[in-house]
Amino acid sequence: MSAAIEVTGVTRRFGSLRAVDNVTFSVEEGTICGLLGRNGAGKTTLMQLLTGQDFVSAGSITVFGQSPVENAGVLQNVCFIKESQKYPEDFKVRHVLKSAPWFFPNWDADFAGQLVEDFRLPQGRKIKKLSRGQLSSVGVIVGLASRAPLTFFDEPYLGLDAVARQLFYDRLLADYALHPRTVVLSTHLIDEVSNLLEHVLVIHNGRIIIDDSAEGLRGSATTVVGTKAAVDGFTRSRTVLHRDNIGGISSATVGTLNSEDRKAAAAAGLELSAVSLQQLIIRKTGTTEEEIELSA
């Protein structure tokens, strides 16, 4: 496997703010990677750095082995439609569909046309008159139909209803199976995409705090529930990520459990449940679930 993206010690400062702070990671070619984090965590800045739209203050970035900055050879293999993308004044949906193939050599016009129908996007409507969901679907359609070897989806489902979100997952997975490529998906709707992701990067206050395979993460934490005394006994020698007490009942989130641990827990009358990716990230970033939901 080779790396599509390699980031080494990258910092991006805005005055005294470090929007991206000494970040090092890589993304393997041909994987779907989640870039997760709260609003203002540095997701968009990081993606702008990766696509040559912004400049690093320190560190180095390579995309397909070369710096992306002003590098046409690299950039023509990259597609990044920002969630807050600006479009030229009075641009209509059809102007986007017409001009995209001039910039993306792998553009599939039939696929784009089918997606426009799937998302029921009115082609003659001006971009600035589109609803939030329709605007998101423009970005989704360009991202999918461009078939760029490295495609970024930035909060692709803002304003999309459940049906349209499902449509996006289905189309992405189907097309990814036919045309494997590297996909970076930035979102706050973590549980909804967690089955899609092969790798997870979590950025918090400009730092990467989780860089792990989705598989590894799913098993990395377990919640044990039982009487307060039993939970106390079980967690005495363990690191507790989070703990709730309701009356005499306690629940505690702990790290990876092996089969011995599980037997011990069962013997103590404790119930075990897997921690969802979203809950795990909330525990690690020290935010509440409401905050993550609200950060849309």
Binding site: T51, A72, L75, N77, K86, P88, S99, W102, P149, R181
Partner: protein, 253 residues
């Protein structure tokens, strides 16, 4: 594991620049239909005014009205419209082209080519319409719209004057919008404050050295043709400055 999604060979620089040119022209409503619709309306209003004057004024008053019209000009409207087009190209099409993975260099060169083409088309149109206007003695009504008195009577020179003026307005729009894209509102404030100081300084210089007479004489000696030719200097400077600014600019939400 290998990716079947093909990494295509990089198209040549010309092909990439051409893609940007096409991007500027994809929405024809904005760059062709709307300005000509408005121009048609102005033309119709001018013709009606010409007809009203013709039916109600004496020959003497009519000739005075005609000389007053020498300074009305369709070209002025087009120039301002194109300045706005240039500002929007940098403030809106630039961030969009970045999302299409165009490099800043390719975007800038493509933008200049697109505006050079627009300048050619519009100068040719204004020149041809001006020629018809002269030939038909003001569309049969003695009105002046496309052939104002300050333009050269020679058609080739007139085409050149219009072309150079279009380039000037386009490049000013590009340079000023580049300041905005690079440094946002603070950049605009500092830019216009500096511009005011420079102009004030030049006025003070001319006043203190009592050289207003010389300045006036220079403009008279240059004539419209000469002054227009001199705008090529700030036009070229604006093109260079715009490129240097945009080369480090970042599209922001």
């Amino acid at each position: 594991m290998t990716t079947t999604t093909t990494h295509t060979p990089t198209p040549g620089a010309l092909a990439r620049i051409f893609a940007v040119v096409r991007l500027h022209f994809v929405n024809k409503g904005q760059i062709i239909v709307v300005p000509w619709l408005i121009m048609s309306f102005i033309f119709a209003v001018t013709l009606i005014i010409g007809w009203i004057l013709r039916t109600s004024l004496s020959a003497k008053d009519l000739s005075e009205a005609g000389s007053g019209m020498q300074y009305s000009g369709a070209i002025g409207y087009f120039l301002v419209y194109m300045l706005v087009i240039a500002v929007m190209a940098i403030s809106q099409t630039f961030p969009f082209a970045q999302s299409y993975s165009a490099t800043r260099r390719d975007f800038y060169l493509g933008t200049i080519v697109a505006f050079a083409i627009l300048s050619l088309v519009y100068s040719a149109a204004v020149t041809v319409l001006g020629w018809i206007e002269d030939f038909t003695n003001g569309w049969g009504l003695g009105v002046v719209l496309f052939s104002p008195g300050y333009l050269s009577p020679n058609l080739v020179e007139r085409f050149y004057e219009a072309f150079v003026l279009f380039l000037f307005f386009f490049m000013m729009g590009i340079a000023v919008a580049s300041v905005y894209v690079r440094w946002r509102v603070n950049g605009m404030l500092i830019f216009f404050a500096s511009l005011a100081l420079v102009i004030l300084g030049l006025v003070a210089l001319a006043t203190v050295s009592s050289s207003w007479g010389a300045v006036g004489a220079w403009f008279v000696a240059m004539g419209f043709f000469g002054v227009v030719s001199w705008t090529l200097v700030p036009t070229a400077l604006a093109a260079i400055v715009g490129f240097l600014l945009l080369r480090r600019a970042t599209p922001r939400a």
